[in-house]
Amino acid sequence: MNAVEQQAPGLPENAVATVDLAAEYRDAGVAEVLDSLERELVGLSPVKRRVREIAALLLVDRARRKIGLATEPPSLHMSFTGNPGTGKTTVAMRMAEILLRLGYVRRGHVVAVTRDDLVGQFIGHTAPKTKDVLKRAMGGVLFIDEAYYLFRPENEKDYGQEAIEILLQVMENQRDDLVVILAGYADRMERFFESNPGLKSRVAHHIDFPDYSNGELGEIAATMLGQWNYRLDAAGRGAFDEYIALRRARPHFANARSVRNALDRMRMRQALRLFESGATVDAAALTTLTEADVRSSRHFLPASP
């Protein structure tokens, strides 16, 4: 029935028989999202590839429907696995944008939640809480960070199971209204899916986020500083590369997030240095982070007890 509308002016050929995929791709505006993904996110080539594949699948599915080929709406629930700070939330935002432009979600907003937002504190608290979150996410994407915390096998009375059941029901019955993205560390997600086969079978797309290399983190730092109107001088850049290598070896290393926090601390040290010098400052002094700002990090100190 859609095909009839497509015969309207503007399409010289028989629109029922052919769909110009390139034109579809252009008109939907997906190209812009994919390009900005390519441009603005450093590294992550396997992720970009997977996102591109999913976009292609959806585009082809849309074309099939226009031609009138019966097709089951594709299952869109996804799981993003990877270490902290590898861009899972950022990519989820882009994914929501792609889904919106292709018409697979109606609003394209992302509701990011964790266990605390879904699971209640006492009997009868979980269901309304989970349903409330689901209602807010309708028409968009529900992003559940560290999803494996929902399931606590060591405590059989845990209310997380109840949240999972409600989630499953909505994931199955309201596929048109909501796309769920589950995110977390790869190994723990794997165990989570193993103990919840119902969930595993409803998640169609798995995207693995690799760790950033040191070079990529340096590039990310430069991009972030550029956005804030800061820059590292040459010596500072060299020191920061050393810093990344040192930081990676320490516990709780969170890729881009660690870089961001390090930059925040460097800005603070720069501010203190300028403030204490008491001299007049110009734009160059205000924007430049020097080697000293980097090297005063505690990671450069000799190992302390």
Binding site: R106, A137, M138, G139, D177
Partner: protein
């Protein structure tokens, strides 16, 4: 007698698609949507029972439609309405309210005349549905 309260009540009953479109309008205005039901159609009965809490921070009507379906299943044959509350300063009131479900048979109201002192007559309304049965079983579901 078909009761007419709130918006759209002189129109034919809204379809689900129309209800959904109206809810979308409310959400676009930033209003919080809630569902209420009653089986007492008296025009001065303004306090209907709430079906759950008002729904804040929704982006899409699907959430409300899901709640509405549940409410319909439980309170079949009752009056169900949708309210949209505007919390902006200076308004802080219900901005829109419309009935989305009503009993198949609405028996209407009896006009009661009460004779007072002298030749004074006091008028009041009583719903036949309310008079014939207690709460909960007034309309065959």
């Amino acid at each position: 007698m078909r009761i007419t309260q709130g918006a759209f009540s002189f129109l034919p009953d809204l379809t689900d698609a129309q209800i959904s479109a109206q809810i979308d309008y409310c959400l676009r205005q930033g209003w919080a949507v809630s569902i209420e039901y009653t089986d007492d159609p008296h025009p001065r009965n303004t306090y209907w029972s709430m079906w759950g809490h008002p729904m804040f921070d929704l982006a899409d009507a699907a959430g409300v439609m899901g709640e509405l379906a549940e409410c319909r299943a439980v309170h079949r044959g009752c009056y169900i309405r949708i309210n949209a509350f505007d919390s902006t300063h200076g308004w802080e009131t219900v901005r829109m309210s419309f009935i989305v479900d009503r009993p198949a048979d609405e028996p209407g109201f009896r006009l009661i005349r009460q004779e007072g002192e002298g030749r004074v007559v006091r008028y009041t309304l009583e719903s036949y549905a309310v008079a014939r049965a207690p709460e909960g079983v007034r309309y065959p579901g």
